[in-house]
């Protein structure tokens, strides 16, 4: 594959990841959210593969495989299992309506391009668009976190933010040292497991997964 086609693939995948973030904002059912997250993670893995091929560095291949296996398969399966196990209503129930959410997220993408502008001015072709996209995905993740007040959707929002940061890490620096990456994967996995356990507990104590009920602690 020639270089131009390859950068085309890389940019295309990055754009696809941004698209999945938008799709997640538009979902109103919990298992749709998990499924789209899985697709996003697999796209991120494919992106890592393309960058690994482009740069020829071996350790990015490892990251790509880990991303697909853990974030694309294991974590979504676990989330799906948790959602099935907790028999609650499976709607997302956003605080901000979906059309307005989409509009606001479009604004966030513009903010991301504006923020990333000074950094990418001197960068090379591959990373130029992807850094802005990664910032956009992180911001959309934050938006999901703020406007979707259920324990499960908060976990997914956190994972979307993590995906955005990974995209940034791969595009600016072609990945971090392998030992660090593996540590991060381990943490993400444990974090999801623990949060899943707490989601069970929240469900037991409050009989809902809606975290807006948790307003007892204040001054």
């Amino acid at each position: 594959m020639n270089e131009q086609a390859l950068t085309g693939v890389i940019n295309g995948l990055a754009a696809f990841i941004l698209l999945t973030a938008f799709v997640m904002v538009s979902h109103n059912r919990m298992n749709q959210l998990v499924r789209t997250f899985a697709i996003q993670s697999i796209a991120l893995g494919a992106f890592a593969f393309a960058v690994a091929y482009y740069t020829g560095s071996d350790h990015i291949y490892v990251i790509a495989v880990l991303t697909i296996v853990l974030k694309g398969i294991v974590i979504p399966q676990f989330l799906k299992y948790t959602i099935d196990k907790i028999h609650v209503r499976k709607e997302v129930e956003p605080l901000v309506g979906i059309p307005l959410s989409l509009l606001l997220c479009a604004g966030l993408v513009m903010v991301a391009y504006y923020v990333a502008e000074p950094i990418i001015a001197g960068a090379d072709a591959v990373t130029r668009n992807t850094l802005a996209i990664s910032v956009a995905v992180v911001l959309i993740g934050f938006f999901l976190m703020i406007t979707r007040r259920k324990a499960m959707s908060e976990i997914i929002a956190l994972l979307v933010i993590e995906n955005g940061i990974f995209l940034g890490a791969i595009s600016i620096t072609y990945g971090m040292p392998l030992i660090v990456e593996i540590g991060i994967f381990f943490d993400v996995l444990v974090a999801v497991l623990i949060m899943g356990l707490f989601a069970f507990r929240i469900n037991q104590t409050f009989e809902t997964l809606d975290t807006t009920f948790m307003r007892r602690l204040k001054d």
């Binding site: 971090m176 540590g183 991060i184």
Partner: protein
């Protein structure tokens, strides 16, 4: 040299042992033995580092700053484990918790300890991030330990807010790595602190500035700096009291340690940038804490807001900089850890006696529990910066740094906030300690096992405050020497 591995293996071994041990007493004994041994080994390593310079091999790096932190962590941990014998033992006797919870408490404390120790001994900033995230994960169970609705809420808030903060810090680390890539290439040593420090002036300043902002906000969330502090009062008030002490005295300092490593590198590359941020966050935290301390209703939350205040003071000290500012900040870090530990133990004794966290329902502690009451009062005087306790020395040093830098506005605000906090804090505590005893509370102090660590902690801050012993000042001076502008 395998001493650093030993420091990490001991808590791990104790955690594994806790999993299998069948009785209350054996669990307590193994935790005490393990933590005691840990403290001794950390002390030996610390003395070695102070005499012979930093130790560095494979993934580890222990310099004077790490040794300082190791001392605080292991000492406070030992105090907490001793106190837990009384506090958690009491809960167990009252059947508030069963043996499964009792065991998991000791197990999680050791894992929590392990992650915090890992934070201060690793050289690679990426691994440090992994460890700091690990501290959140390990302590979340301890925050939600009582499995009540409020503690589940506090634990969930803690998990989500701190994970978000830490995610931002990860972005900061990615950018730090990016700032070094032109100098070092994509080598795996590029995130090692020692490497980064040696090439700090050549790093890309655009990336590094952005990175430091993200680190400050990200790790600052865990430090409890305003306005990212919202998890802190909830977690501190809902956790069992020994855990509140561990969170406030050690975890906050550990997260601050994370900021300091980046602070040093950023200051070497772009002088003046990181210090300004530290000043702003410091003053903001103090101001916010002052407001909430005045309005406090729950005494554990009062102590939590006081922790936010002290993290603000420490941040201010590093922000003002110079030898005297850094000296003050380090003394403050140490003294706050000791004093806050003492206060949370006192709060724990009161909670178990009065069964309420509301300050309005606690009166006459001094006549119900004379020793606890007296210690609480002295601890309150110490934490608000009265002489002759060691926090006074730290606070005066920071004030002096402000005046000698001709930062009169900052110094004025700092002083005013300290006075307000002193008045409000002492008002609340003295109402609790004196006054007509709450009805229905039987007299009788907590057992000696809970009072001994409190007396020991009070002794330390008193000795340092009165005599300022030379080994202590030597240690602080050596630690300050690591910071740019921190040499005398």
């Amino acid at each position: 040299m395998i001493i650093i591995e030993a420091i990490l293996l001991i808590p791990l071994a104790v955690a594994v042992a806790c999993f299998f041990l069948p009785h209350r007493r054996t669990l307590e004994a193994s935790a005490l033995l393990g933590t005691g041994a840990l403290f001794i080994i950390a002390l030996m390593l610390g003395i070695d580092v102070l005499n012979n310079g930093p130790v560095q091999y494979s993934y580890w790096y222990v310099d004077e700053l790490s040794a300082f932190m190791l001392f605080i962590i292991t000492f406070v941990a030992l105090m907490v484990v001793i106190y837990s014998v009384s506090y958690i033992g009491h809960d167990y006797e009252e059947r508030e918790i069963d043996l499964r919870q009792f065991r998991s408490y000791y197990l999680m404390v050791q894992l929590f300890l392990l992650t915090m120790l890992l934070v201060v001994v690793c050289n690679n900033l990426g691994i440090m991030w992994v460890a700091i995230e690990g501290t959140t994960l390990a302590s979340a169970f301890l925050v939600g330990f009582y499995e009540k609705d409020t503690s589940v809420e506090a634990a969930w808030k803690y998990l989500v807010i701190c994970s978000l903060g830490i995610a931002l810090a990860l972005f900061g680390i990615v950018l730090t790595y990016a700032s070094s890539i032109e100098v070092l290439g994509a080598s795996s040593s590029a995130l090692e602190w020692t490497t980064l420090r040696s090439i700090a002036p050549e790093l890309d300043p655009t990336y590094l500035r952005l990175a430091f902002i993200l680190i400050m906000v990200g790790y600052g969330t865990k430090v409890g700096l305003a306005p990212m502090h919202t998890w802190l009062p909830d977690a501190h008030s809902e956790a069992p009291s020994p855990i509140s002490a561990l969170l406030s005295a050690v975890l906050l300092n550990c997260a601050f340690y994370g900021i300091l490593r980046f602070f040093i590198i950023t200051e070497l590359c772009v002088p003046g940038f990181a210090t300004t941020l530290m000043l702003i966050f410091g003053l903001l935290s103090m101001a916010l804490a002052a407001a909430f301390i005045i309005a406090a209703k729950d005494y554990k939350r009062l102590l939590a807001y006081s922790s936010i205040e002290h993290m603000g003071i420490i941040s201010l000290g590093f922000g003002l900089g110079g030898y005297i500012g850094i000296f003050g900040a380090l003394v403050q870090m140490f003294s706050h850890a000791m004093t806050k530990c003492l206060l949370f133990f006192g709060a724990g004794n009161i909670l178990q006696k009065y069964n309420t966290k509301s300050m309005d329902e606690v009166r006459g502690v001094i006549s119900v529990m004379p020793v606890t009451g007296a210690l609480l009062l002295l601890g309150a005087l110490a934490i608000t910066g009265s002489p002759p306790f060691s926090i006074f020395i730290g606070e005066v040093a920071i004030l002096q740094a402000g005046l000698s830098n001709e930062e009169y506005l900052v110094s004025g605000l700092y002083l005013a906030l300290l006075v307000v906090i002193f008045a409000a804090f002492m008002y609340h505590i003295s109402r609790m300690v004196f006054g007509k005893t709450t009805e229905g509370v039987t007299k009788g102090d907590a057992g000696p096992i809970s009072l001994i660590p409190m007396l020991l902690l009070l002794g330390i801050i008193l000795v340092i405050g009165v005599f300022l012993p030379e080994p202590f000042t030597d240690m602080v001076e050596q630690v300050a020497g690591i910071f740019p502008g921190g040499r005398t």
